[in-house]
């Protein structure tokens, strides 16, 4: 009898749960806003970023102004990318505004017609001022002469250095690649357990930070004729130099799988004297909660190579409108608000470099930045190159190819031969995309 009643109770509980679950499912299902024409609910998908945090805190103002309700979804960089791959591929209309990486996926998204043409929208409101946006980033969000995105966050490569270690060595901040190598050598020799130089070493992760070395040595991933430039003499010199710096003056037993979190950790633990990295990460080095060397960090433009100091100046993120969205007019309203001069100024003050010239020339726009970093960014923006990775559709594959000689150079192999092999492989990718 006991068993029977136990079964009965279990069955009843299961039935109750089933009913409750079904109700909950229906409830949340019908709660999902319909993709009706010009819905009052705007679906915005953003990446986890300080930019997003600031925008999120100001959303109620936007909702009050427009009477719209914003439904915000927020994801990590890779998860956001995976989402887009599935959802946009299925032709979703459930995303209205999308935050995307113009250089990583912009070309692919534009080619697949995932991004709506904003060419007319950007010209409508003169006060908002499309002309105010830096030309390099604008180029990266333009596809076949159509504007498909508005750049929101820019990034330059800069030199992070330890003021105390350079002072101890009696050296000035390196202005050329030769001085950089000499300084790295002295720091390593003077300070046991401290590397002279550190930077990303992972095959794919290092490509973006290596790019500025490549440009400063006179090379590029794709040459003027549209062919692979990876096996050029300039590129071979850049590979050997970047890899050599880490091999000779980098941390002991350096891993060849480091991205920024690992390289930054070595620098912020006080285990390296010089470090080339994106300026957007500067708070990791200057925040005492995250860095042991917060007080002694300095910033300088990338040292000049044989062709000068040519750091990249790129839009790392932009906002676009989903082509399949039925709510495009409202989506534009959101972009116009989030990229307005006032919002850009506020976000930039929170530590996120924006793409508006007027905000950079406004003293308030650089008031929260370390003075040397602000000066460095101003200098890098002038000579900046508008890309930090090969501008192709298959970006991840290409990064693996052109990044391989970096690893070979770090491990002491023949980076020249590796560059030749990478050049041939990269040319195949270029040919296939023609």
């Amino acid at each position: 009898m006991k068993r029977h009643s136990a079964v009965r109770v279990a069955a009843m509980a299961a039935a109750a749960l089933m009913a409750a679950g079904a109700l909950a499912s229906c409830g949340s299902g019908s709660g999902t806003p319909a993709a009706d024409k010009e819905s009052k609910t705007l679906r915005v998908t953003l990446a986890n970023h300080v930019w997003t945090d600031t925008v999120k805190s100001r959303l109620p103002e936007f909702e009050k102004q427009t009477g719209l309700k914003v439904e915000l979804s927020q994801y990590g960089e890779d998860q956001l990318s995976d989402q887009y791959n599935v959802k946009l591929n299925a032709g979703t209309s459930e995303i209205d505004v999308m935050m995307y990486r113009p250089l990583q996926e912009g070309k692919l998204f534009a080619k697949n017609a995932y991004l709506a043409d904003l060419s007319d929208d950007v010209k409508t409101n003169k006060e908002w001022g499309w002309a105010d946006f830096q030309s390099g980033p604008v180029l990266a969000t333009t596809y076949k002469e159509k504007v498909v995105g508005v750049p929101i966050i820019t990034e330059q490569e800069v030199l992070y250095y330890r003021k105390d270690l350079l002072k101890k060595a009696g050296l000035e901040v390196p202005k050329t690649m030769v001085e950089l190598e000499a300084a790295a050598k002295v720091i390593k020799a003077q300070n046991p357990g401290v590397a002279g130089f550190v930077a990303r070493t992972g095959k794919s992760a290092a490509v973006t930070q290596f790019s500025s070395f490549l440009y400063s040595f006179g090379g590029d991933f794709i040459d003027e004729s549209g062919k692979s430039g990876v096996s050029s003499d300039a590129a071979k010199k850049a590979y050997a130099f970047y890899g050599g710096l880490i091999r000779n003056y980098g941390p002991a037993n350096v891993s060849t799988d480091m991205s920024w979190p690992e390289a930054m950790a070595i620098f912020t633990q006080g285990k390296a004297g010089l470090y080339t990295e994106a300026d957007s990460l500067y708070k990791n080095a200057t925040d005492p909660v995250k860095s042991k060397v917060a007080k002694s960090v300095g910033f300088a433009p990338l040292p000049a190579g044989s062709s000068g100091s040519k750091a990249y100046n790129i839009p790392s993120w932009a906002l676009g409108v989903n082509e399949a969205s039925a709510n495009q007019a409202n989506a534009w309203k959101f972009i116009e608000w989030a990229t307005s001069k006032a919002m850009t100024l506020e976000i930039q003050k929170a530590g996120v470099p924006g793409a508006r010239t007027s905000v950079w020339s406004n003293p308030a726009g650089i008031s929260t930045y370390p003075a040397d970093l602000a000066a460095t960014i101003a200098a890098s923006t002038k000579n900046g190159v508008g890309h930090d990775r090969p501008l192709v559709i298959k970006v991840p594959e290409s990064r693996d190819i052109v990044g391989n000689p970096i690893v070979v150079a770090i491990t002491g192999g023949d980076s020249g031969a590796a560059a030749d092999a990478a050049g041939a492989a990269f040319q195949k990718v270029l040919d296939a995309e023609k």
Partner: protein
């Protein structure tokens, strides 16, 4: 039932006490040899066990230790073991980021998908076992063979058109898709191991076939049900891929929400690790307390026929 299966028959027991069978003296000489090996064996056993346990536990220990450190200390090799512990990370996860919502979401989806899968899967498994429906069983198994990622785009397409994406319903359905075959196969082998004579006897006593299933077979299958339920719950609790695409802002489950601490230009390792502890601990506790069922359920029917 299980008692009769594990206890040796009376004849065997008396034999173990010393009754000799013809040919048994031949085994005797092996005994002293075994004794000679004894000193080496326990050492080997302890070393291998310690290494294995360390291998599995080290990442978990690191995770727990890191969750009690500040972000600067996590990277500091000098503070690997000796540091000033802080509960700030947990306060950040549970307080400022309100992870209770995600814990509830994960729990609700796992519970519903497990219960519904059991309700559908157990009768199906019974039918397939008793009426030898091997082809149907193969069809069910196909769901496990197809890689989940290849289903995501069509699923998203269908569910988006049904306006279901972002709700609990679609998450529960997607998890059931994977849990059902697991339950059906586990329960099939369990039912195969139960003698049909019991049901025949019940029917002779006046029960209908369904009555016999409900009153005789099902109560005897509790270990199997527990195994299937636990494994299905664990799968659902840990699932990341389906939840990433099919959940909405309010229905995110824990494995997806954990990535909130990974930003483009900063990673909050301390909070990430404390969130990881919060995801791992409930499932470890469940697994520890129920491992007896899982093992007995998994091996049920393994020695049949």
């Amino acid at each position: 039932m299980t008692d009769t299966a594990t206890t040796p028959p009376a004849a065997d027991r008396t034999m173990a006490k010393g009754t000799r069978r013809p040919g048994q003296p031949l085994q005797r000489p092996t005994l002293p040899r075994r004794r000679r090996k004894q000193p080496a064996y326990p050492v080997f056993r302890v070393v291998v066990l310690t290494l294995t346990v360390l291998l599995f536990i080290a990442p978990l220990v690191w995770m727990v230790v890191a969750s009690l450190k500040t972000n600067v200390d996590i990277y500091d090799p000098d503070k690997t073991f000796f540091f000033t512990p802080t509960l700030d990370n947990y306060a950040n996860v549970l307080g400022r980021n309100n992870y209770f919502v995600f814990i509830f979401n994960s729990f609700w989806v796992a519970l519903c998908s497990t219960v519904f899968s059991l309700i559908l899967g157990v009768p199906a498994a019974y039918a397939m076992s008793r009426f030898t429906m091997h082809r149907s069983a193969m069809v069910v198994l196909m769901a496990r063979i197809i890689p989940g990622v290849s289903l995501l785009v069509p699923w998203y397409f269908i569910f988006a058109n049904l306006r279901l994406v972002g709700g609990f319903g679609v998450l529960i359905l997607s998890h059931m898709f994977v849990a059902l075959p697991l339950i059906v196969y586990l329960m099939m082998s369990f039912f195969d191991s139960l003698p049909t004579e019991l049901e025949d006897a019940a029917q002779v006593d006046g029960l209908t076939p369904i009555g016999a299933f409900l009153r005789i077979t099902l109560p005897l299958s509790v270990p199997g049900l527990a195994t299937a339920g636990i494994l299905s719950f664990i799968f659902s609790w840990n699932n990341f891929m389906f939840a990433l695409v099919l959940s909405g802002a309010n229905t995110k489950t824990l494995p997806v929400a954990i990535f909130n601490f990974v930003s483009y230009a900063s990673i909050d390792w301390g909070s990430l690790m404390s969130a990881a502890v919060i995801v791992t601990v409930p499932i470890m506790v469940i697994a520890l307390f129920t491992q007896k069922y899982v093992v007995s359920g998994l091996t049920a029917g393994a020695t049949k026929g």
